[in-house]
């Protein structure tokens, strides 16, 4: 591997990202999967870095999942997105940041389509007006939320309480980065690092002290792939993709996996349990799995937030081995205490995959 070759490509795929004043839109599904992630994004950006991030309860799905499942036409998705842009316009913002990778890809695809086919944009404006009497300005800038954490990575590093270093060995932790398919594969120039060697997550890992692993199936889909999972008959295909990735990364012994997509962390986390049950195989050390984190969760960990306050107890794969390597203290008895120390009940432990 020639690291300088990657650096050369990364230099070609950098983008100017506005520093402040963002209209933030959440994902449909992330709050059900790992609810701490979006909360911590706003906590870091607003609370810690004192940036202006606005969100509204009127925001809805972008229609991306239905669009990629071929269940609604493109004009419908465009009108939904036009409404989101109208909300941004009404709130007085010009910079639009999406929590979801598919939404990000959806927004970019629609804006590029309108650029090529202005008559379609005019039609969507008309449809939106007829539907809800709204008008919109197109955003001046569309980012994915991981772009923002990438932009702030050095500020976060400067405030970090923990480095991505194994406290037992002193060696940098080995990290696999997994980029959501809709981040750069459709429009490489709108990403950080391009489609082949994206840098958005690698940049965070490097800035926070870890080492990035490149492995043969790095670019492969996590296995979610809407038409793989949402069509029930295809779910075997979904897990076979995930299995392929884990088999490929296994020889590199990663300490954790970092993701920037709603579905990827969920499927790479949960399918490890299913693989363990069906194949009897686990990929972490001593029967554990490989922890899968979102970038917001990882940023929160290095900043010193309590692992249970950021929702890590909702992961299928136990994160405790990773916390031990990082030297992060945690209270095992508080793992299943929710807000106000409410007992959220312990899950049943799996038969094969070792959990805490």
């Amino acid at each position: 591997m020639i690291y300088q070759g990657k650096q050369k490509i990364w230099a070609d795929y950098q983008k100017e990202i506005p520093d402040d004043h963002w209209f933030y839109v959440r994902s449909c599904i992330r709050q059900n999967f790992f609810p701490g992630a979006e909360k911590m994004f706003l906590e870091i950006c607003r609370g810690l870095l004192k940036k202006d991030f606005y969100e509204t309860e009127h925001h809805t799905t972008c229609g991306g999942i239905a669009y990629h499942c071929d269940t609604i036409p493109q004009e419908t998705v465009m009108t939904i997105v036009a409404r989101q842009f109208a909300l941004m316009t009404e709130a007085g913002y010009e910079n639009y940041v999406a929590s979801c990778i598919t939404s990000f890809g959806n927004y970019i695809e629609i804006l590029e389509t309108w650029k090529e086919f202005p008559e379609l944009e005019a039609k969507i404006r008309e449809l939106l007006w007829k539907a809800c009497k709204r008008e919109f300005n197109k955003p001046k800038y569309v980012a994915h939320a991981s772009d923002l954490i990438y932009k702030y990575r050095n500020e976060i590093a400067a405030r970090a309480k923990f480095r991505l270093v194994n406290r037992h060995t002193g060696e940098p932790l080995r990290a696999v980065e997994h980029i959501g398919c809709h981040y750069a594969k459709m429009f490489p120039s709108r990403s950080i690092g391009g489609a082949e060697y994206p840098y958005v997550l690698s940049g965070m890992i490097e800035a926070w002290g870890g080492n990035v692993i490149d492995y043969p199936e790095r670019r492969h889909c996590c296995g979610y792939g809407f038409r793989q999972y949402h069509v029930k008959a295809n779910r075997g295909y979904s897990i076979s993709n995930t299995y392929k990735k884990f088999e490929s990364m296994e020889p590199y012994h990663p300490d954790f996996i970092l993701t920037n997509c709603p579905g990827c962390p969920y499927f790479m986390d949960r399918w490890q349990y299913v693989i363990a049950e069906t194949e009897g195989k686990t990929y972490g050390e001593n029967g554990y799995g490989i922890p899968v984190l979102t970038y917001e969760e990882l940023a929160s960990l290095v900043l010193g937030y309590d692992p249970w306050d950021i929702g890590l107890q909702l992961h299928q794969v136990a994160v405790e081995p990773l916390l031990d390597k990082l030297g992060i203290e945690y209270d095992p008895s508080a793992k299943y205490k929710g807000l106000n120390r409410k007992d959220i009940m312990r899950p049943e432990l799996p038969g094969v995959l070792r959990c805490c």
Binding site: M1, I9, A195, E196, D214, E217, R219
Partner: protein
Amino acid sequence: MKENIVIIGGGIAGLEAAGQLLGLGYKPIIIEKSDRLGGHVADWNCLFPDMTPAKDVVGRLIAGATEANIFLNTEISFVNKLKDSYNIMLSNGISIITKIILVTTGFSVFDASKKEEYGYGVYDQVITNRDLEHWFNTGNDRRIDDCGMNAVGFVHCVGSRDEKAKNPQCSKVCCITAVKQAIELKQKFPETMVYCFYMDLRMFGKKYEDFYIGAQRDYGIRFIRGRVSEVSENIDGRVIVKAEDTLSGKPVKVTLDLLVLMAGMVCNPDSTKVANMISLPIDSDGFLKSRDNVADIIDSPKDGIFYAGACTGPKTVPETLAEARAAALKIHLYNKTMQ
């Protein structure tokens, strides 16, 4: 004859044209940017389809042009159009007045790192056709194991016929060069499995088809019709190649010790620079535009300015040499009409 004839470029086209012009009684001037003559062919080991040593071809051409005035390490600083001639200022401070310019600036090799999915410049075991030819010439490349390799792949059309790479043109020589290099590798390492990933095989030249059939029949080289979609590196540094075999309709995944990218021809930026100095038109493929692509390929739209070789588009060595001879004759006839 006293008329100055300036040849811009000391590759095989420039050398052949100079040799022919010397034979016709002229004293041409060759301006070459680099420190040696022969252009790309001088870097090659041997030439298809007869495995002719490239150094023999280049050596003969240089020997035939030694009487020309040759300026090495020399660039054109600027060109002024005079009433019926051109004033060419060279980087060595010499100024030449001429009514006849032959442009033989050739091509550039496509930068294979632009096709990011193939991993050139990122993965150690991904090289180009040019790198492999260098190894054939010198035996010196740490990426190639002299003791042999289990499997090697060739990817055709790297940066050619590729809208994404902004190069719609076929580079003409890559198919046959891949066959040639694959055979050479098999001759050195008979046990090595060799794959060629192609979208088309354009075996148009004399003996090309025989060469291609021989590669399969005599050397067992496997040709897979399908473009490579992804290249990655495994833990021991070998490259994993994914492609689709479009004939069998199945995906293919192979692990290789070496992947060779057949980087194509693109317009030499020096051609564009010269074109800008003399106000010559550029064709839609980025190469210099001839007066007519059928009957007047060696004529520029301007009187007294001629082309030969790959400055007007990808060409084989025989085509380039034929154009150079034609250009020399055309210049001779043009000079006679001026007198």
